[in-house]
């Protein structure tokens, strides 16, 4: 049985008499400890799927099961302990007037977990931030440092599943490399399951075992990593994304043969 099982999920937004069908009948399943990628253009519904899992989007049809059980609405504390999300923009996702210490210790306070002092220190160590950052504010940190804080915050409750919504697209290439390396290390150390959204096929390829290509709210094609690297996609759209991927401009000869 798969850890995350999404069946025929539909999300419909209604505003000002308009109806936007952001996700239409998408099904996917993610195995435990797998890293699963969602790729597509903006408006393809990839982030909406993550938000739907968290109960942040109006689900109009289908089912989301985690560990075989339907999710309660509202999601509740047990959900927060098993699933956490890292957002795209580390400038917007951290409270500007809370210190890093407060940001990191709040989930512990909500869940009544003792020992918050040691846990906050350990969380900073885990994401490679000096302990002296603990009483700083987000504006005193760089983008990469903030994203490390956001990852540390997501891991405070020791969830098994991490939902990553474009975690590095706001970062410089060299900082992106550091954050991706950090995520890979944490996944191995803690046996995490990732669902990662990105528009960058090269990032998805680097991080994920399988990837679902989406367009206009629908699933287009699911690809295993080898099929992506070997350009064995069967749909025109997946092919066009692959061809437009910037890393293809760097020429060949650096990747492994095959």
């Amino acid at each position: 049985m798969s850890l995350i099982d999404i069946a025929a999920l539909s999300v419909t937004f209604r505003a000002n008499g308009r109806t936007v069908r952001a996700v239409e009948g998408v099904s996917l399943c993610v195995q435990a400890k797998e890293s699963y990628g969602l790729v597509g253009e903006s408006g393809s519904g990839k982030s909406t799927i993550l938000r739907a899992i968290c109960g942040l989007a109006p689900v109009s049809g289908g089912a989301i099961r985690i560990g075989g059980t339907d999710l309660p609405t509202p999601r509740g504390r047990a959900f927060a302990r098993s699933v956490q999300m890292v957002f795209q923009d580390p400038y917007a996702s951290l409270h500007p007037r809370h210190t890093i210490d407060r940001t990191l210790s709040e989930p512990l306070a909500i869940h009544g977990i003792a020992d918050s002092d040691a846990r906050v220190s350990r969380a900073l160590d885990d994401v490679g931030l000096p302990r002296s950052f603990r009483f700083r504010y987000p504006h005193q940190l760089s983008g990469g440092q903030r994203q490390r804080v956001a990852i540390a915050r997501a891991l405070m409750l020791e969830p098994g599943i991490l939902l990553l919504d474009e975690p590095t697209s706001a970062l410089d290439a060299s900082v992106q490399a550091e954050v991706l390396n950090l995520l890979s290390r944490l996944r191995v150390e803690r046996g995490l399951t990732f669902v990662m959204v990105s528009h960058d096929l090269a990032v998805i390829d680097h991080m994920c075992d399988r990837v679902l290509v989406m367009q206009h709210g629908r699933a287009v094609e699911e690809l295993a990593r080898d099929d992506l690297a070997g350009a064995r996609m069967t749909t025109v759209y997946a092919r066009s994304l692959f061809d437009a991927s910037a890393d293809r401009m760097l020429g060949d000869g650096k990747g492994p043969p095959g």
Binding site: S174, A202, H206, A246, G255
Partner: protein, 276 residues
């Protein structure tokens, strides 16, 4: 004759801890071509772009030996002359539509404001021009976008609105500061081809500021690589893969690739003498 010539540009900010030089002696010249400026955040690439329009406010300070645009001395031009230059002759597409569009005006009102005020167009004519500009940047749902406020648009839409806005006065030089960072690869390709067409058909000069080395290499004719306010390497875009400088090489190597190895990505080694 070159469209723009810059010699020894320096941008300095006075801070409590003494002056900080954001740009430290940048020189280049630009014809009617696509020039890429790449570097990480903090490398001074955005400040270089802003300094060309003299858009740096105190306590920031611009010093330059020579800065000449189309025969006109920009370094000593009056504010009045600069206003005539900005937008109409040299336009700039800013990085973030969230902060660069007016949050309390509809997109339609923002797009037509310049046409109505500057070009004295009537309401219907201005609207027609604005609609055409939006269509030129591949916006399909034009009526909705015209009536929308910036917060109702996605990042990619907002970015395209800004590009449309900057292209309406048909400038001679466009400074595009990360114009496609918020866009999807396929939309990015469309926007780049729009910019490309403008450079080719209208002989517009383009300064393309980006952190994405791969994109710049694909799109530009020439690339300046900046680090800590200096140009560390200048090369033809086609030769990027043969770059010599350790910083340029480091930037290239830290990017993941489709089908590449899955081990940790190499970080950037900043211990060399060049990094001081």
């Amino acid at each position: 004759m070159s469209l723009l010539r810059v010699k020894n540009l320096r941008v300095t900010f006075e801070t409590e801890n003494g002056p900080v030089q954001a740009v430290r002696g940048v020189s280049f010249s630009l014809g009617r071509e696509r020039l890429g400026i790449v570097g990480e955040s903090g490398s001074g690439k955005t400040m270089t772009g802003r300094a060309l329009l003299r858009l740096i406010r105190p306590p920031g300070r611009i010093e330059v030996d020579a800065m000449v645009f189309d025969g006109q001395d920009v370094a000593t031009a009056s504010e009045r002359q600069m206003r005539a230059l900005r937008g109409r002759r040299i336009a700039m597409v800013m990085q973030d539509p969230k902060f660069s569009l007016n949050p309390v005006m509809t997109v339609g009102a923002q797009l037509t404001e310049g046409l109505r005020q500057r070009d004295r167009l009537g309401r219907a004519d201005a609207r027609a021009r604005a609609v055409a500009a939006l269509q030129a940047v591949q916006i399909r749902d034009v009526d909705r976008v015209m009536a929308a406020f910036p917060h109702e648009l996605s990042g990619g839409m907002g970015q395209r609105v800004m590009i449309a806005m900057m292209l309406i006065p048909e400038p001679d030089l466009l400074i595009a500061d990360e114009p496609t960072s918020a866009l999807d690869v396929t939309v990015q390709a469309e926007v780049l081809s729009i910019l490309d067409r403008l450079v080719r058909d209208r002989g517009m000069g383009l300064i393309f500021i980006s952190h994405d080395l791969r994109l710049v290499a694909r799109f530009c004719d020439r690339v300046l690589v900046m680090y800590k306010g200096r140009i560390v390497e200048e090369l033809a875009a086609a030769d990027l893969m043969a770059a010599r400088h350790p910083y340029t090489r480091g930037l290239l190597n830290c990017l993941p690739r489709i089908g590449g190895p899955r081990g940790p990505l190499p970080g950037l080694d900043r211990t060399g003498a060049w990094a001081q």
